[in-house]
Chain length 408, copies 2
Amino acid sequence: MLKKIVILVCDGLGDRPIKNLGALTPLEAAKTPNLDALAKEAECGMMYTLGRCQVPGSDVAHLAIMGYSQHEYYSGRGTIEVAGIGINLRPGDVALRGNFGTVDDNQLIIDRRAGRIRVVEQLTQSLDGLEIDGVKFVVKPGTGHRAGIVMRGEGLSNAIIDADPHKPGIPIRNVTPTNNSPKAQRTAQVLNKFLEKSHEILKKHPLNEIRKKEGKYPANYLLVRGAGFYKKVPSFEERYNLSSCCIAGGGLYKGVGSFLGMKVIKVPEATGLPDTNIKAKFQSVLTCIDKYDFVFVHVKAADSLGEDGNFEGKKNFIEKLDSASKLLLNLPDDVLLIITADHSTPCELKSHSADAVPILYRGNGVRTDDVMAFNERACKKGGLGIIEGKHVIPHAQNLLGTLKLVGA
Amino acid sequence: MLKKIVILVCDGLGDRPIKNLGALTPLEAAKTPNLDALAKEAECGMMYTLGRCQVPGSDVAHLAIMGYSQHEYYSGRGTIEVAGIGINLRPGDVALRGNFGTVDDNQLIIDRRAGRIRVVEQLTQSLDGLEIDGVKFVVKPGTGHRAGIVMRGEGLSNAIIDADPHKPGIPIRNVTPTNNSPKAQRTAQVLNKFLEKSHEILKKHPLNEIRKKEGKYPANYLLVRGAGFYKKVPSFEERYNLSSCCIAGGGLYKGVGSFLGMKVIKVPEATGLPDTNIKAKFQSVLTCIDKYDFVFVHVKAADSLGEDGNFEGKKNFIEKLDSASKLLLNLPDDVLLIITADHSTPCELKSHSADAVPILYRGNGVRTDDVMAFNERACKKGGLGIIEGKHVIPHAQNLLGTLKLVGA
């Protein structure tokens, strides 16, 4: 009897046939004996995370897979990023994600990541707690050059366009409201004042004096984006009655876990990069599934490699993933394993696409089908047919026998 | 990298198994090596143009395939017919399609098409510009016995039942309003006056005097139907950022093109009949795809043959279509080819039906499947699964990489 769930989300795994891979996708071209062994024991299918013809951003894609509709629970990526950093939002809060970047004296962007500065805690400390026109700013360090920012005060809105032109060589813009509401106008005004004041503080910050002496880019401007506002979000456990944890390298995915109230497990060798230690992550899965009912494990690099157009790299990373997946063959008898992706990232496009992704459900008592491999072409013929992200957890609940009866 | 789109819509192509064709559909029974070759290089599936269990009319079917919901953009076929004739509607206008027909002295219908009169320009000229109770009538010739009529004035509505009994031997009725609104009542009243006045003018028209002398039916009554009203419709190019053109024989399909702001390309040998020159049309596709980003090419006769119950004729016409389709194998590398139908027209029913139609997407980088033939039975097993008309263009946009990201 199935009692627990492990879901492995391989970011950007789906792709399209690539000429140099013999008209196969990286997943089809990769040697994946372990994933294929899992597929043989599974029911397979294809998934449109947000529905057909919707190109999923990573944030809303993961929320959809976990059963949290973007329309109900999503207002901007900032909310998820600050959750990952460990800031608890309160009603009325506006949350932003930020980069420490470098601008010149004319506020032209020199580098959006201040030469990929690695530790920004001293910088965030100098900004954390600033108050402008009754709005308090909470500023905490993220990974690398990143930060999470919360605006806390009366009459705020996330209806703003950020100041980041997203390209070097272009001047910083003003934050502008996207509508005429007093809230949006106030938010833009206060945020502009904060960014100006931050720039003054950062310009003179001792850490930046040192960086300049060392010939490094000073981290003298806080670039913000992805404004979202507080919404009440029931935790994964409240929603499904399953205690849950999250194993991820990338900040956003830890953020998704935190956002949904999952325990975020630290795996030191999980980097979110192609060099990540997938085996260490899957070892952690095997440990965690003893303690939790639901383990969400995320592997990032197939997406980044797709965005680089690096199909050989993507294929190789998939083989590394497959090698680690041997561990998943040893999950306890009462565990349902789901393997899927949040979206496709075709190497040709170098960006997310709306192409469906393969999905498998493997566990005792699950109906199997004739699919013998885990890839786009094979899973199209799976017994599950074509599902959407919103079906992923309910289908698992059904397999566990925990869905509620409709009618009598 | 795909940059352009050709969509071939084969009107009424879908069918049901026919005993005399060995329990195959005309498309399954026809020898179609070229369409099958395209299917082998494609991802295939089935489509319900308006959704399951909806029998599509040709007008709303084409709008749906182009991504224009009938609920938002359709108010009556008249609007599309007059677009095809080249009349630009203005806010408040009511548009109708019309036939020149023959009635006797008691206004009994003798022939709904006045013996299929071929040129009606002199007749429309005698009616164009008439004004009744402040409503101006624009009357322009369509193809053959057809005309487009626009009522332009204050307080009009399309909530009327036409006067055409649709059968010979029955008297012309009065146009009646379908509701009690003053607008509907006024429209019916004004239109009745116009039809009466037109009849007086047409009865005495010199062209009809000549026709009577020649023993032909006089075109002495304008039968109108399909009242629609002006709606703002974004052009195909505005909507998708793709310059577009339309290659069609039938008037309605040119009308669809015009309605959506496509350039309507003249192919003199395109007749909309079984004798049409499909090769000339496909040659035109090859020329047009150099100049336009999107080419809509329509082939009509499978539908008409289905409506006649002529399964042998339908099968033969499909083989003629297949023969011309060899040209489509030579589309440039950056062109995505879509082949589908607007609806099924089963020979047994002699009318449109809600049966799904096959669809294929063929182009570089498109995920292929194991489908080896383009027909109802084969495409059911395609990787696309079952889609709806509203997905057709967005799915193509996805393949071109031009869909917008949802979330971040």
